[in-house]
């Protein structure tokens, strides 16, 4: 009898996903250093605050897509879903005159409802996620225009609404620290999402689905249920993004939203989450979103034509995925 079982390799703490997140972080530091040296006033605190504020919406949408992508799907509807939920909060607060908390809860709940409809299309009707959420992207975009009469809804009856996102509530606690609430909301969403993904049973199922859906099903996992919940959570997080964006503009702009989904997916990919599913981190996505806004801001401060940022973002996506492929091959 021969036992050819190899000595199993020692446990690798450094996973490829961790590695790429580290790579993304290093890229972010390099970009910050580069612009600090070559762009005048880039490193000013007020500019840093600008960057963080500009990251908030994309970061939150990126977190929404991260859930779906790790589960092995994709969500193209996050941009227009954000707009639709903003319109919903406008309807609740301005047209119905309800109190602020109802508007906030309504927007998030409605996002969750619409997201879970995408989930039903994917899980029950077996429509590929790309198609199901492409459909939902248009449905949400259309509904936002229909509900609003294709006109912006202003939050005139809720004067505090416009302060939600840009106000620096932290200054009340720590005088002198100016940091818009939107930044804290983004980090709050990210931390909460991280806990859900890494600590909760839902998170565990999301990783299992993305790694091997059939094996999970044959282990007795109710795959459909968890998929629907995953898309529902993505929709709820879009609701948070809707609040952020409409608060900053002090209005729900129904024509907004198209194209945001691609920026969000870009942030996810740059942050090291695999489009094949089963691997990824929320913090990587946040770093990815920061890389994109640092580029935008840095190039603008340097006086480079702003559109170059789009070109550079495209390059970074390709490089990021290439790094993922190389790391995957090694492991």
């Amino acid at each position: 009898m021969t036992d050819t079982t190899q000595e199993a390799p020692t446990n690798k703490v450094i996973t490829s996903s961790f590695l790429q997140k580290a790579v993304a972080f290093v890229v972010l530091i390099i970009l910050l250093a580069f612009f600090s040296i070559f762009a005048p006033n880039f490193a000013a605190w007020s500019n840093m605050v600008n960057i963080m504020q500009a990251t908030a919406v994309n970061g939150v949408l990126g977190v929404a897509v991260t859930f779906v992508i790790i589960s092995g799907g994709i969500d193209l509807s996050v941009g227009t879903m954000m707009t639709l939920t903003a319109v919903i909060s406008g309807l609740i607060l301005t047209n119905l005159g309800m109190p602020l908390p109802v508007g906030i809860a309504g927007a998030i709940a409605f996002g969750g409802f619409m997201g879970s409809l995408s989930g039903v299309a994917v899980a029950k009707l077996k429509i590929p996620p790309f198609i199901a959420t492409l459909g939902m992207m248009q449905i949400a975009r259309g509904l936002a225009l229909v509900f609003s009469g294709a006109k912006p809804i202003y939050f005139n009856s809720t004067p505090n609404y416009g302060l939600l996102s840009p106000e620096s509530s932290i200054s009340l606690l720590i005088p002198g620290l100016e940091m818009p609430n939107s930044v804290f909301i983004m980090f709050g969403v990210a931390i909460l999402a991280s806990i859900v993904l890494n600590r909760s049973i839902l998170g565990r199922y999301i990783f299992a689905l993305g790694s091997n859906e059939e094996a999970a099903r044959l282990s007795g996992v109710v795959v459909d249920k968890w998929k629907i919940i995953t898309y529902g959570i993505s929709g709820m997080i879009c609701g948070v993004a809707g609040l952020l964006v409409s608060s900053r503009l002090n209005s729900a702009q129904p024509a907004l939203g198209l194209g945001y989904e691609l920026d969000a997916i870009a942030a996810v990919v740059i942050g090291g989450t695999s489009l094949a599913g089963g691997r990824g981190t929320v913090m990587g996505t946040i770093i990815g979103a920061f890389i994109m806004s640092v580029l935008t801001n840095g190039l603008r401060v340097m006086g480079v034509q702003e559109e170059w940022k789009i070109v550079v973002t495209g390059l970074i996506i390709i490089v990021a995925v290439y790094i993922d492929i190389v790391l995957r091959k090694q492991s």
């Binding site: 079982t5 199993a8 299992a208 790694s211 094996a215 282990s219």
Partner: protein, 510 residues
């Protein structure tokens, strides 16, 4: 083999010697060899996992050997990729067809090397169709080169694959279980084509499990076992028994049979189960503490029976009773809640989430029991319970955080067993429990299964390896073409008795 016999044959077309090949965790080939002469059919036989496919993949440039030489027409060659092998005249017809259904027969045959016209800008469809027609004529088949492949029967698709292999002017054709999807008439036609090819001096390697086919078309039988070359036997004078004993290698497997007796308490009763074409009117009972073997040829419907009971595939009709109560199983989840587990033959795709840790795989079916407030995972508890099972089943892994893809086949199987034991499953359906597992680890799995039966678990073992079925089973159910054709007592059953039942309906049709 005598020198006299050698001299009667055509020239040596291809010869492989001393081939070694190792994969992580498994030594797939060790000093393997094969030789094919012009105009000769060499049947390559061996149990699953004997290394037949690996050896063929080396001959076709898919894998690179760790050691050994391959020579074509007497000259040593290296085969870095499939393209080089094709250029040297080595063609292969895979068991699964690799055709593009929406393209025509001719387009499939000449894919990637279409004849061009108009300075190479356009495909010369006329010439391509004419060339394909010539090959079909040589094979004496009447397939229209312009027909979409998806519209052909499986048998005719296979003929397109053969035509494709011949279009490379292949001198050596490898056929991997080419008859697994063919009926009798189609098999006869295929054999007529093989005879023609032989007459034209083509050498053929024919991989099969079916003895009657070997008798009909093979000149020599090359036997492999555990990655090693065992023997070359002349097909004409060798008996089935000799081939089987060479394939099985009695010296390596402890054939001593299990065991005490199962109890009389029925754990699972299946009555008139029908599911698609693969499961027809299946009846059997499984007792507590019993190992029930399911024997049969590939495609006999054994896996389909298991998947239907487990709720993985839909059931058309039939009654299933678990511990005396009629049940309605609509999904794997229902089955698991009734304590039924299915351990797939394809562990990497269906048994494990290979990218996740040993801990997560062992605990996956039980996650809901390891939460606080139904929301957060109690990871420390998961870790300690997984560790407990790793120690109990002697899974070789540095820690429970190791990704399961890094374990060897035997240890992966133990992880799958552990996950169902932790979930308190007491009806365990094993589909090819030792496929892809080293011989040493096999014995361990056998011991594990016997121990589980002794503890009172009700166990079904589906296996294509007869010695395995004979060694483990208290009773043996034999299936053929979706039906149960007989039941044997484990203690008195023989390989011959099983094979007779497993081929019963095929012979009746002849």
């Amino acid at each position: 083999m005598s020198i006299a016999a050698e001299s009667n044959k055509g020239s040596v077309l291809i010869e492989a010697q001393g081939i070694d090949k190792a994969f992580p965790g498994v030594k797939a080939l060790s000093q393997a060899q094969i030789k094919v002469h012009a105009g000769e059919v060499v049947a390559l036989m061996g149990e699953n996992g004997a290394g037949k496919s690996t050896l063929m993949k080396i001959l076709t440039g898919v894998y690179q050997p760790d050691a050994g030489t391959v020579s074509v027409g007497g000259k040593p060659v290296t085969l870095p990729d499939p393209r080089t092998a094709q250029a040297l005249g080595i063609g292969i017809i895979h068991q699964e067809l690799f055709l593009m259904n929406d393209l025509t027969a001719a387009q499939n045959i000449y894919i990637g090397r279409e004849p061009r016209k108009a300075f190479g800008m356009f495909v010369d469809e006329d010439r391509m169709n004419a060339d394909a027609a010539k090959i079909f004529a040589r094979m004496k088949v009447d397939i229209d080169p312009k027909v979409e492949v998806g519209k052909l029967t499986v048998a005719r698709q296979q003929l397109v694959e053969i035509a494709k292999a011949l279009s490379y002017n292949s001198k050596i054709l490898i056929m991997d279980e080419p008859t697994s999807a063919l009926n009798e008439a189609e098999v006869a036609h295929l054999f007529a084509i093989i005879d023609d090819l032989k007459a034209q001096g083509v050498g053929i390697v024919y991989i099969t499990h079916k003895m009657d086919e070997v008798k009909r078309i093979a000149d020599d039988i090359v036997i492999m076992r555990d990655g090693q070359y065992i023997d070359t036997l002349p097909a004409a004078t060798t008996t089935i028994g000799e081939v089987i004993s060479a394939m099985v290698g009695r010296d390596l497997i402890d054939t001593s049979r299990a065991h005490g007796q199962g109890s009389d308490e029925i754990a699972l009763k299946v009555t008139n189960l029908n599911a698609g074409r693969a499961v027809q009117n299946v009846n059997f009972t499984l007792n507590k503490g019993e190992i029930l073997g399911f024997a049969g040829l590939m495609g006999a419907g054994r896996t389909e029976v298991a998947r239907a009971i487990f709720g993985a595939d839909p059931v058309d009709s039939g009654r299933i009773e678990v511990h005396g109560k009629a049940v309605d199983i609509k999904s794997p989840r229902d089955a698991v809640q009734l304590g039924i587990a299915y351990l797939s033959e394809d562990r990497k795709h269906f048994g494990l989430v290979t990218g996740m840790s040993v801990r997560d795989n062992i605990t996956m079916p039980s996650w809901e029991r390891f939460t606080s407030n139904g929301v957060f995972m109690r990871d420390a508890d998961l870790g300690s319970i997984a560790k407990e099972y790793v120690e109990k089943l002697k899974v070789k892994t540095p820690t429970v955080d190791q990704e399961t893809r890094l374990l060897s086949g035997g240890n992966q199987q133990k992880v799958v067993i552990a996950k169902w034991l932790l979930r308190d499953c007491d009806i365990l359906i094993f589909d090819e429990p030792t496929r892809g597992i080293d011989i040493g680890a096999k014995a361990e799995i056998y011991k594990l299964l016997q121990g589980l039966a002794d503890e009172g678990k009700a166990i079904i073992v589906i296996s294509s390896e007869l010695p395995e079925v004979l060694k483990l089973s208290h009773r043996i159910v034999v299936m053929c073409e979706g039906r149960i054709t007989g039941e044997l007592e484990g203690k008195t059953a023989t390989q011959e008795a099983i094979m007779t039942l497993a081929t019963q309906r095929v012979e009746a049709a002849e």
